[in-house]
């Protein structure tokens, strides 16, 4: 097969990939949005749309920005097939991206080539299937453990899932960015101490806190750029 035939064949495959990728994404999106309403019908309690709107304004905007950044950064690494699959199955930073890069390195595929596109799709599809399988087996094994997990003695553990997550993330993000982190942490602590009622709106406070952190990071970035010049 000469190079021209190979490119033509790949172009045909890639065009169909966009069609199937879009179709799969749309079906998954519809099912994910419908699921809470179907669960609501089963449980006899539909989602509260006023609370949904309030929650979306508080947290949705932050994740909207984060999703744009992730999309722009990771799509070129994953290509068409890998990209659609990775955004459907999630766990990008902690699994799909390193997995695809690892497979590409092992095989020796170069970025932007048809080989890279194929390897990336194979890698992400395999990783997603492994996760689905491990989680399904784990969940089946979890069912008999439910009475144990619901004992009152274990409740402090489940009531502190979020502090546990933020403690781990704080170390990860703060350790190399202490000069950026100290200001939002200080300002937020003082604010919550002086206005304790704000704890009921912590998710809204992410916006000013994030703005402070980004502002300081930008000043430090500019300073470093000037220093480098």
């Amino acid at each position: 097969m000469n190079e021209q035939e190979k490119n033509l064949q790949f172009e045909k495959y890639n065009n169909r990939t966009h069609f199937y990728g879009r179709l799969a994404s749309i079906i998954t999106l519809v099912m994910l949005i419908a699921a809470p309403f179907v669960m609501g019908a089963v449980l006899g309690a539909m989602p509260n749309m006023a609370a949904f709107g309030k929650g979306f304004l508080a947290i949705g905007i932050v994740w909207f920005v984060s999703c744009i950044a992730e999309y722009l950064i990771y799509t070129p690494m994953l290509g068409a097939g890998g990209g659609y699959l990775a955004f459907i199955t999630g766990n990008l930073i902690n699994m799909k991206i390193p997995c695809a890069v690892n497979a590409r390195d092992i095989v020796g595929a170069k970025s932007g080539t048809p080989e890279n596109e194929i390897i990336s799709t194979l890698s992400i599809a395999t990783a997603s299937l492994v996760t689905i399988l491990v989680l399904a087996v784990g969940v089946v094994l979890l069912i008999p453990l439910q009475p144990v997990l619901q004992t009152p003695a274990l409740q402090p553990a489940f009531d502190n899932v979020v502090p546990a997550l933020f403690g781990a993330m704080a170390y990860k993000y703060y350790r190399k960015n202490m000069k950026t982190a100290i200001w939002p942490l200080l300002v937020m602590s003082v604010l919550f101490i002086l206005v304790p009622s704000l704890t009921g709106s912590t998710s809204f406070m992410i916006i000013p806190s994030g703005a402070i952190a980004i502002g300081i990071a930008y000043m430090r970035y500019r300073k470093n750029q000037k220093g480098a010049q």
Binding site: G55, C67, L92, L129, V139, M169, A170, L185, S189, T202
Partner: protein, 253 residues
Amino acid sequence: MSIISQLNRPAIFLICGIIIFFVAIVCVFFMVRAYRAGKAIGMDTTKMKRAVTSSATFAILPSIGILLGVIALSGSLGTPLPWLRLSVIGALHYETQVAEAAAEAVGLPGLSGTFMTAEAFTTIALLMSVCIMWGMVFSVFANKRYLKRLSSPKKGGGNGGAMGFGDTAMTAMFIGLVSAYIGSYIGSLVSGNGLFTFTGSWLPIAVVIVAGIVMAVFIWLAEKKNAAWVENFSIAGSMIVAMAAAVALGKFI
């Protein structure tokens, strides 16, 4: 029937299971297509098989870490929803943050099985779906054009500077997010029961500290002891240890 038992009803498992099954079929379909296309363009099948086996082995450890995330969330949201969210579209750190913010928005004092109601649960489930669907939405509308533009020859210079700060801004945004929550725990301890009374709960701060210390150990092992594989467990492992510490420390409250 307790709320968690209701959230673990077979019907809820079935709803989540159907979606996960569909996504598994999509993965198999894409995998077979990619393999056939690789063969059609003359790729070495041994290389493709190596990519599959290396990815399968690579994915086992992080998948166990993700399973720990399902366990961590199952006490407040039941098992099926975290199973769905962490199998499709989500990631542990996103899901927990969005679920916490959503719980707050529906008027719960926090993400906890103790205060959960069926209405709060369905609202949280909807918020979790909508907040983290944008990567998929952009894929649908922009993937083809974006990838075409990337593969076409560039005119003039690049925008490396803007991309450089984009990365820093992402980190800064997470720092802001984490700081807001840690600040709220400090505020609750100091003024939760009245200004400067210092009688609020210290447990969340103790949990933050334990999780931070465990994360430091994971990073030390990964960076200084060349045990990069432990990074797969770093977030979920730190959370599980800190949550176990909450059980032990909770006895002193």
